[in-house]
């Protein structure tokens, strides 16, 4: 059965439910980047993000018949992603890193490869920001990533996380307050 690019996600997922591979491939190509980015920003590791992105799509394939069409397919997909990420983080031992850690992987790599100073600074900035985001409590982190990096509206985030819009507001407010506390000293010193 041929798949048209204009077909909606909801139509495609119904076809995936009857194990239509072309429909699955089309959905995969539509969301691969977005899901990988979300997972990467939540987990902070490229290789782990790759593994978890695979898990997300395998889960979609396996439970396509459970999609009821009550919410948008994208909300359902993001909810699966968020659950997989949260479960993974819960299982994994937390690695406590200091924002001031001078022996970081990035820094060592920068020295070893004698990259220009600007690249090193950019990497260092990204690392500090990522660590600050990673230190947020899971729900705040998810809401923040979905809002800031994935461009979702409060209403969409509420749908994905199954919470109210005012709860999303509150999560984002607290996330920003925590990030401000952690990152403002760096901003004021011109380190990032």
């Amino acid at each position: 059965m041929s798949i048209s690019k204009s077909e909606s996600d909801e139509v495609l997922i119904k076809r995936v439910a009857v194990k239509n591979e072309s429909a699955f491939k089309e959905l995969f190509s539509r969301y691969e980047q977005k899901i990988f980015n979300l997972v990467y920003r939540y987990i902070g590791s490229y290789s782990e993000a790759e593994e978890l992105t695979q898990d997300v799509f395998i889960q979609v394939y396996k439970s396509a018949n459970k999609f009821r069409g009550e919410a948008k397919f994208s909300s359902w997909l993001y909810r699966i992603t968020v659950n997989i990420c949260k479960n993974y983080k819960r299982r994994k031992q937390p690695v406590v890193k200091s924002l001031d850690n001078s022996n970081s992987e990035t820094e060592l790599l920068a020295h070893a490869t004698t990259q220009p100073e600007t690249i090193f600074k950019r990497k260092r900035k990204e690392e500090i920001i990522n660590q600050a985001i990673e230190s947020l409590p899971p729900n705040q982190r998810i809401a923040f990533i979905l809002c800031k990096y994935e461009g979702h509206s409060y209403k969409e985030i509420a749908g994905i996380m199954k919470i109210s819009v005012s709860a999303v507001e509150s999560l984002l407010f607290r996330a920003k307050q925590q990030l401000k506390e952690k990152l403002m000293p760096y901003i004021e010193k011109g380190k990032i």
Partner: protein, 160 residues
């Protein structure tokens, strides 16, 4: 607007999610409140700083890897098949199940009730029989001539 509320609304405002009337209220507050204006500038600067490149390139051949894993899973345990499309049948099935359960329990109750009632009736009739035998006036009949009771009775009354 109070500063505590204004600080929360600044966050929503910077995300472009504040309703028009609330936005106006906040902007009015920011005009007169230095602390909240400073908070807004700080938060705005923070959010600009933490902007990172929008897209991170996903690794290559990801679909192939997913496909391989799905194939592998199929060999280990068959993946769930598509759900029957007759989802609307579920409430009817549940309803029918409840009706059948109701009738079955009525029949069982009726049958058990009969058994218990018959046992009870039998027991009651035995008790009545014993009661009648015990309390019947037969016990006041004359004592047989040759019985020990009669001899004893004669001794007491002085009869021979």
């Amino acid at each position: 607007m109070k500063c505590t509320k204004a600080k929360k609304k600044i966050s929503v405002y910077l995300d472009g999610e504040l309703k028009e009337d609330e936005k106006q209220e906040l902007l009015n507050h920011l005009e007169i409140c230095d602390a909240c204006r400073k908070e807004k500038e700080m938060l705005s600067s923070l959010l600009t700083t933490i902007e990172v490149p929008k897209e991170i390139e996903a690794p290559p051949y990801l679909f192939l890897k997913v496909k391989q894993k799905i194939e592998h899973l199929k060999h280990i345990s068959p993946l769930p098949q598509a759900a029957p499309p007759l989802r609307w049948l579920r409430p009817i099935t549940v309803g029918l199940g409840l009706i059948v359960m109701f009738f079955l329990s009525s029949l069982t109750g009726n049958y058990l009730g009969k058994i218990i009632l018959s046992a009870k009736t039998q027991k009651e009739s035995t008790i009545n029989q014993e009661f009648n035998t015990t309390l019947r006036l037969v016990v006041f009949d004359d004592i047989p001539e040759e019985s020990f009771g009669n001899i004893y009775n004669n001794l007491l009354t002085g009869k021979r």
